[in-house]
Symmetry: D2
Subunit: 349 residues, 4 copies
């Protein structure tokens, strides 16, 4: 069975998912697209075979030729399309963020709980990265005892001048937040932000680098460092300090070159080079789950938690004081962490 | 367009390719299978959807529902199925070896040249491994000047007691031979074999480890080391010594763990762990090429060369002296190395 | 000219320095020893050649056969012996801490400034470690732009049960404090302490690991992590995040071993294995300076700063709030950082 | 007791040893020097304190103020000065080679055996390098089973145009020969030389790189690669393939720098940077042994073996065929390998 996917939003990331569904993965095809820019949607549809361009996301969701939905539109629109997909009884893959406000996220939780089964997967692709999976596997194996501190370094070569400090806390650090929750299997209870000396070559309005400290429910401290104009490459760092050992992400270079007095390897140029495989694996697991009639991976609950923590981070940045994160009680629907081992069935339907 | 693939031989490797074509890759499906063991063929067909089990490879090749053929049967049968595929005008992917004798390989070359276009891809999957591709890319970029010596280490945790020294030279070292030709873009002119102290835990009849020295047409010396009972893991090493630098394959571990007085990473357990992605990439490139109406990757010429070099290696082992490799003149059909950069079009039709 | 050294305190560290002065380094000999335990002093003297055992540190300092003094006694006694050495006009090497209170340190500063020349070197041996020197050299070269954040990890396999949290902040973190000041060439203005989840196998009274955050005068944030029962080894980590790059201490293992599914290297077992050479280099530089008639390396000012910062750290731990560090104005005597590059002349006399 | 050393030959290496004996090590001083260039000897003596410049090596050896002798003169003169030192009953440290011909080496063996005790140490400093010692220790521990193949890579940034292929085999590879014998604890029985493609930027008369294959008495094969114009640095490589694992020399860089798309470390610029500590340790062990009345480390037998193997290598290069190494029976005097563990007493007197 081939899963017919409708894609809402065909900007850079949406088009990348279309390429993936069309040319890379097994078991799916793109059946319909739409975009706020209708011409762009039509152009994308024309470049494919037998793909319908819809006027709105709602039209697409209601199209009987669409089995499942990918939401890759502008963040503030996520809520309505995810809710509509749930209402239509169609599995939906939503790029992060799940939604931009606590209220919107809670609306989605309510709808999904009312539906009685998981229907939403949120695009936290790091959980599908081989290195993070190896880290979680080593940690879960007990190789270093219980985790005590986690360091999460997020280094970007550059960002557009329009990016704000809040944008870094919300759009960049969200990945560190999700990875921390997933890796440590616990929630964030408070966030605090520290502002070190700024890099001289970034706009004065941007606090870069910025340090975000998360306190987890089990007492683990997570130190996130976001440095988004570091120039030298896209460098994602992670280290768990455990009771009797540590686990770090290894360098990803495939060869070591020696020349001109140095031995060394390549740092990825951008997120694409670093995480392209994770996106493939993430989507293949989603397609396989959808074909089997259920959801998988990061849930609405994970999306909700990430949004609340990022809200707390921006509050902490604004006030200079720790900000606590208060979440509603976790519905039973999300009790089993389907993606804890990256392979588990979700099995709610 | 979906490529309908017929698979001849459904042993371990054949079944792995079926899984890949069915569940992992884009643009192909398995349409038919066959095997010397008819029951096994039927069982495999029954486990899939809409797959026909044929009595013979020839029946499968002639089946109009089959667009292209994968030959994964016993080595000595490769010649006849590849020739039949060429005769039927169908693209064929042949697992290594192309054929087991010089004469059989030359028959294939003759048939393909007569057909006037490339129709055969040989399964040298290392050319599709990210690390080898990065090595070739760095070498081709001129980063270390011209290559002078290449070290190719092939370490297997263990082999069955039935494996012979000749088997190691032919079945194991064939990968090192192909990678050397591809990486260095030149032919092997002679082979010599050296027998170091044997590992105490291997059967006395097996020379393990064994060293194979290849002299290339441009003077580069390749030192191949095959150690097939090394116990500690599956460890594929490669290093190019260039005029002004070196390039080595990096370790493939994704995380570094520190515990019990050590820091370190994982060595792959077997070829599957090390090369599973290379097989995926290799097959996707073949499917894409077939869909576009041509072949790609390692050619019959590459298969022919590998067989001749392995023959020379076994002769050198028997005689203790260097053995030269004499190849026929290279037909124009193979003049352009389609896979030199791993991406090139084959463009012969 | 041979420098005749008197050693006050012949416990473990004192005896190690005696071994070093006697058997390893050039240009010095031990001429006299003393200890609170007179028997121990006599025993040590008897094991050497032509060494006098004195009843008190003051007797030793006044002995005309003693050219220079090493203070390796209990911390609270440092002040009086350093002051006496200055009064006697003899160069003195004082193990850390310079003194245990702000007042005591200021008394030493006053005495040295009154003497008009540097006479005190404090034993912060990390400044003499090859790896730290390479880090400072790379940073100073401008390879990564200005430093913005510094991570300093101090991991000890275990500590005696008697060690307290305050003890970790004062005796362990003091090295991280000094290295941060030296590496970043700026003072600490405030300290804050965070308490992550505790390792289950340490006494409940000990906060282990513990995180110490220092804010430097130039805005750089230093994140110190002390984990003193980490079991896996003695692992000293350091990483500078600069504007356009990073510098980390490399692993110190001399060989990489592959066996049993792993590739890896050794983590040092203890501080001795990790820093033995740094102690040798530190002492040789001191001997050479003394022979040339002056001091070198970490000064009284550095010892004073370290004591104040550790005081602030314990206050921050007690209160849970940031504690500021207020230092007196820096006397001209200490204006030139003699050890900035590890090689500089001190040139005050 | 201070060992009074006389140094014969005050060229670059001789002066470096003088610096070491004077300013770095414990327990020795330079008492006398001489050189074929008498002015140079006088200049060196004048730059030191209380050092006599002798007209000849023999005068120096006979000087009662000289306790022990360092021979750092031109290779062909080694024999006479070593023999004279033995005759004078004075311990002698002889830079490699022990002597330049089989006959000369055998004369020294005869003299030393007649003296009834070891009096000669040969300057194979790699045995004192921490990395080689860690390799030997790991190998001896049984961590990887018995050694089967050893790779020894000797890469020099450049050599003067006057250096010949024979010079590389004799002066460069001699270190690889000695390390192989020491590490594997067995003798070389034959040598063979292979000539790969030459680097384009070296004189046509020089075969660079060059491969030297040694077969050891226990069957181990040693593959030496000498590349002496590799430009990128001074890179000494070593890897033992054992029955169940491998041991490699790690990179020696102290820090890892990330910048401009790369992560990496420094390759040593020259032998001095790489081996300066090994020279210090080697000499300190010799001084300590001399002070205790005996010799230590690489013996005349080791020097003899190295000379014979290098002779065989040049013969193999000339003839293109393997050349066997025939040694006389090993005198009992050398039966115990004093330096096997780098620490052992020689204990023959």
């Amino acid at each position: 069975m081939t899963v017919n996917v409708g894609v809402i939003g065909v900007g850079m990331i949406g088009q990348d998912h279309i390429r993936r569904l069309t040319n890379v993965l097994s078991g799916a095809r793109v059946a319909a697209v739409t975009d706020a820019d209708l011409d762009r949607a039509q152009t994308v549809a024309d470049g494919l075979s037998q793909v319908k361009a819809h006027k709105t996301g709602h039209d697409l969701i209601e199209d009987p030729a669409v089995d499942a939905v990918v939401v890759a539109s502008w963040g503030p629109t996520h809520e309505e399309f995810v809710l509509a997909s749930i209402a239509a009884g169609k599995q939906v893959f939503c790029e992060k963020p799940l939604a931009t406000t606590r209220e919107a996220c809670e609306n989605i939780l309510d709808a999904e709980v009312a539906a009685g089964r998981r229907m939403v997967m949120v695009g936290f692709m790091r959980r599908y990265d081989e290195a993070y999976r190896a880290m979680k596997e080593a940690l879960t194996s007990g190789a270093i005892g219980a985790p005590l501190v986690y360091y999460s370094g997020h280094r970007n070569p550059s960002v557009p001048p329009s990016v704000t400090t809040e944008g870094v806390l919300v759009d960049t650090c969200v990945h560190d937040v999700d990875v921390s929750r997933w890796l440590l299997d616990t929630e964030v209870v408070s966030a605090q932000v520290f502002s070190p000396r700024r890099a001289g070559h970034v706009p004065e309005s941007l606090q870069d680098p910025i340090l975000l400290m998360l306190t987890m429910a089990n007492g683990v401290i997570v130190n996130v460092e976001a440095a988004v104009n570091i120039a030298y490459g896209y460098d994602i760092r992670g280290e768990v300090l455990g009771e009797t050992g540590t686990i770090e992400l290894a360098e990803s270079s495939k060869v070591i070159v020696k020349r001109e007095g140095q031995h060394g390897g390549r740092v990825p140029a951008d997120w694409r080079e670093r995480f392209i495989r994770a996106y493939d694996v993430e989507f293949q697991e989603w397609i396989d789950a959808v074909a089997a009639g259920h959801s998988t991976g990061p849930s609405s609950w994970d999306g909700y938690a990430a949004t609340l923590v990022c809200d707390a981070a921006t509050e902490a940045y604004r006030t200079g004081a720790p900000a606590s994160v208060s979440m509603r009680e976790k519905p039973d629907l999300y009790a089993v962490d389907a993606s804890a081992d990256g392979h588990g069935p979700t099995g709610t339907d």
